[in-house]
């Protein structure tokens, strides 16, 4: 027998099973894209998610996957809402998420997203996730997905992805 209205904390915990389809090592909590979970007065579960990028093609899959987890756990009355504000920022990415990225060879975001210097041509140091060298250079601002840039390490010569700061 499943509890008809489980505690919010338990539901948050279920979200760890929902992967980012583009970087499956991360779950939606690592990314910080689940913004709120609450029971409405009518006992409808309301979940708000926010896209990393406006055109992120993974959002639809993530929404479907969240729905599946809820249904597996016996929740049939739920509503998943996409919100734009406040805008997602890499600052919301968990420490665990950053570590996981590093472990699979993707350099995690560095610095704070509000830094306007970038627009003025300022370049941040991105550490090579393979050998740890700081002698790296950007090949392209846009990598295999909108959220990543393409870098090369001048020390070990390996190319790598960097999760950019937004």
């Amino acid at each position: 027998m499943v509890n008809p209205s489980p505690d919010i904390d338990i539901i948050w915990d279920w979200m760890k099973q929902v992967e980012d389809p583009e970087i499956p090592v991360l779950n939606v909590l690592d990314l910080g894209i689940v913004r709120s979970i609450a029971w409405s007065p009518e006992q409808v579960l309301e979940i708000s998610i926010t896209p990393t990028y406006s055109g992120c093609p993974a959002m639809k899959t993530i929404e479907t996957d969240i729905g599946e987890i809820l249904e597996e756990n016996g929740i049939t009355r739920y509503q998943i809402k996409t919100v734009l504000a406040p805008a997602w920022t890499t600052d919301w990415m968990s420490e665990e998420g950053r570590l996981k990225l590093h472990q699979v060879g993707i350099a995690p975001p560095v610095g704070v997203s509000a830094d306007k210097g970038l627009l003025m041509g300022k370049i941040r140091t991105v550490r090579c996730p393979i050998c740890g060298s700081e002698d790296t250079s950007m090949i392209s601002q846009f990598g295999s997905t909108a959220c990543k840039a393409l870098y090369r390490c001048e020390n070990c010569l390996e190319p790598f992805d960097h999760f950019k700061c937004i």
Binding site: Y53, G55, V83, A85, P86, G121, S140, F142, G143, A146
Partner: protein, 250 residues
Amino acid sequence: MQKELFDYILRLADNSLIHGQRLAEWCGHGPVLEEDIALSNTALDFIGQATNLYKYAAELEGQDRDEDQIAFLRDADAYFNLILLEQPNGDYAFTMARQFLFTMWYYLVLEQLTNSKDSFLSGFAQKSIKEVKYHVIHSRDWILRMGDGTEESHQRIQSAFDSIWEYTPEMFEMDDLEKQMSEQGIGVDLLALRPTWRSQVEAVLQEATLTTPADAWGHSGGKRGRHSEHLGFILADMQYLQRAYPGAKW
């Protein structure tokens, strides 16, 4: 329904969609793989932004249309994008010049819209400006690289700016709708942005050893549905599937 706000949202949405559609034409044709990927990513950002705006427009309209119907079932005279954005891609220099001039302007517009009294628009702007920042950086890098590059790249990017310049005045045009939206604190006073835009553009062009063209006559009409012959071809390509198979879904 707030007809004015609806029309204003369509102007922004159509800019994003038509620009995204043009950039997407580079997919599979980029000069190098990294640029192919960069432009496809950029196109995706703009089409995503357009989707968000059309959804809001559909909500304002309160009828049975969704974002896809608004995008795919309107004819050219009901599209309100800037004429600049429907111009054919040309060579990579032309595409980058258009990208640079437009995103420099759009960044300033979004910066103002973050303070919009319309809460959707302000949230939309806070989200989108982060993406447009990267579009500005990407195109500016190319302006510098081509302007201060070889003789041929210099000549190509200079002639791109020379031929595209006459499409820029429309960006700052304040017609009745723009004025009304600006006065209500929803929209933006575009004229006030012009000096900043001009000096920022000039600074980059100067660094790229390029000459900023002089302001002169400019095209107008896109905001009111009067377009160049190119928009019809874009729509024919983009809308074909929904026109031939109404309601088709992935």
